[in-house]
């Protein structure tokens, strides 16, 4: 019996890896394009608007960015995991409405309202995730459904309970002070006062980065978004990962909702519509791949920062704020083209 025994070729160690230029190394980072964009936009408004250069303006930019950025982190993770959540914007409003109305109607400590609201938000996230993994219908459609449902519920239930389009002021209720300290306080650094959401935003980005890059769950998120079937075949609990990601979005929606409630004392029931796109845009500008499996939390932060700088930059430059959406659109187009180009460039090696 003849056997065709072939030994594998001997392994030769070589240093081909060293020839990769440092510039290319930097460019292959998912957030490289957006970082360049952020620097250019900063430079642009720095030159164009005198008041943009003041430290107070910077604090303002950071605040605007953080209100989008906290949610953008969760949405970026969800998108890396291969799913969308169109209900994220109105879920923020739902969370604050539940907390405000529950506390007011039953004259409870606002913390009770906040905790019930957390449970409600997580349930919404779970429902989104469960429906997506269970039915196999694209999350775009499922969450479009929950988006409409929540939008209707927000308006109808608020009208039913308060007879108006906004909730009653809860600023004189028990627990408001301590809740405001957590969700909506500000501290002074020198002459500038910085909102606490900026701190929470940084914490969120750092945590999400650690989660993505240094934990098993992070590995599973990339795999679930990159190729769910492969992931399942090697034992990754794709279903739990995806439901978890939807609940992550819900958790930060609750957090953002609490911030809005405790900084404005009252909630408009029609708020939040359209915000879901800002989160997605921030994530995409930051280099998160629309089809999943690729991106970073830091990228979403840069995307949110671009949003914040453009938003306040246009106002500070004295232009009509109507231009904002136009610029946001340009940036989104530039970012996606740039990301596609960067990825092709990086893949050619």
């Amino acid at each position: 019996m003849t056997q065709t025994r072939v030994a594998g070729p001997p392994a030769v160690a070589d240093e081909r890896i060293e020839h990769v230029a440092p510039l290319r190394r930097l460019l292959v980072r998912p957030e490289a394009g957006s970082l360049l964009g952020a620097v250019l936009i900063f430079a642009f408004f720095f030159v164009m608007a005198d008041s943009f250069r003041k430290p107070e303006s910077l604090a303002n930019v950071l605040y605007f960015s953080s209100t989008i950025g906290i949610m953008a982190v969760a949405v970026a993770l969800l998108m890396i995991g291969g799913e969308f959540d169109l209900s994220a914007g109105v879920a923020v409003t739902t969370a604050s409405l539940v907390a405000a109305m529950l506390a007011y109607q039953f004259t409870l400590n606002v913390w009770v309202g906040a905790l019930v609201s957390l449970v409600v938000a997580l349930a919404i996230g779970f429902l989104n995730g469960y429906l997506v993994v269970r039915t196999g219908i694209p999350s775009f459609l499922i969450t479009l459904g929950t988006f409409l449902m929540l939008q209707g519920l927000n308006l109808a239930v608020t009208k039913l309970l308060t007879g108006a389009v906004a909730t009653d002021d809860i600023s004189d209720m028990a627990g408001f002070g301590s809740a405001k300290r957590i969700f909506a306080s500000e501290w002074d650094i020198g002459r500038v006062s910085v909102k606490i959401t900026v701190l929470w935003w940084i914490v969120t980005v750092v945590f999400a980065t650690w989660l993505l890059m240094r934990t098993r769950v992070g590995n599973w998120i990339f795999a679930a978004g990159g190729n769910a079937d492969s992931a399942r075949a090697v034992g990754v609990p794709v279903t739990r990962v995806k439901i978890g990601l939807f609940m992550g979005v819900a958790f930060l929606a609750w957090f953002t909702g609490m911030h809005l409630l405790f900084s404005f004392n009252t909630v408009q029931s029609g708020e939040g519509v359209g915000k879901e796109f800002l989160y997605i845009i921030a994530a995409v500008i930051g280099g998160v791949l629309l089809t999943g499996g690729y991106g970073t939390a830091v990228g979403s932060a840069i995307g949110a920062l671009i949003f914040g700088m453009t938003y306040s930059g246009i106002i500070l430059a004295g232009w009509n704020p109507d231009w904002f959406k136009f610029f946001l659109g340009i940036m989104l187009l530039l970012a996606t083209v740039m990301n596609a180009w960067v990825r092709n460039y990086a893949a050619r090696r």
């Binding site: 030994a7 594998g8 934990t215 990159g226 992931a231 075949a233 090697v234 990754v236 499996g293 090696r349």
Partner: protein, 260 residues
Amino acid sequence: MTDPLIELRDVGKQYRNIIALHGISLRVGGGEVTCVLGDNGAGKSTLIKIMAGLHRQSEGTLLVDGEEVVLSSPREALDRGIATVYQDLAVVSLMPVWRNFFLGSELYRGVWPARSLRVEEMRATTKSELAKMGIDLPDVDAPIGTLSGGQRQCVAIARAVFFGARVLILDEPTAALGVRQSGVVLRYIAAARDAGFGVVFITHNPHHAFLVGDHFVLLNRGRMRLDCTRAEITLDELTQQMAGGDELTALEQELQRTGT
């Protein structure tokens, strides 16, 4: 023949009223390659799925190490040392090689919730495990999608070996590959056989099968049409059987007539 690692006795599978597989008996021993050949729809995939724990057989018994078992999930099959490498399900192309290598079985330190990955260790292990099998990668941080098809299959096989597989089920590992890339994979199969692994090599290419196989099983319409050892058959006979025997002769004549 040594004691079989996996043995199938009269295994069959029915999906509602469709009989996908019937009367399959198969022994997979350590240090040998069992080739399962068959055309599209012959029942190869169903057979793999039963051995991989994705489906349960509807008749017959499945023995692992001589012990009768019912595999309820791919995880259970893995725990018993049966690893399946699927042709198109092998890897997540955008993820780095080392993350793919350890996907689902990551090494970590610390206690929950502060568990973190042992990244450097995993990188080094990936590099050395692949080097052992003759795959030399300059950069295990590169997305696995930048590797050639043959290398990707090999990474998937090396991963199965590293995580304690004793039986490797390879689902058409050479189907989508060119000649040179197929050679890479076949060499790897031979290396795995020599290292004492039991290999089930599913293919529809008799040439590839004959290069590494010790035992050949041919499936047709859910039944075994051929079951023989290497000594009992030649490549020509295998090709002939594979292509449907008489059908091929008829086809040959038909095409010759129209060709001239």
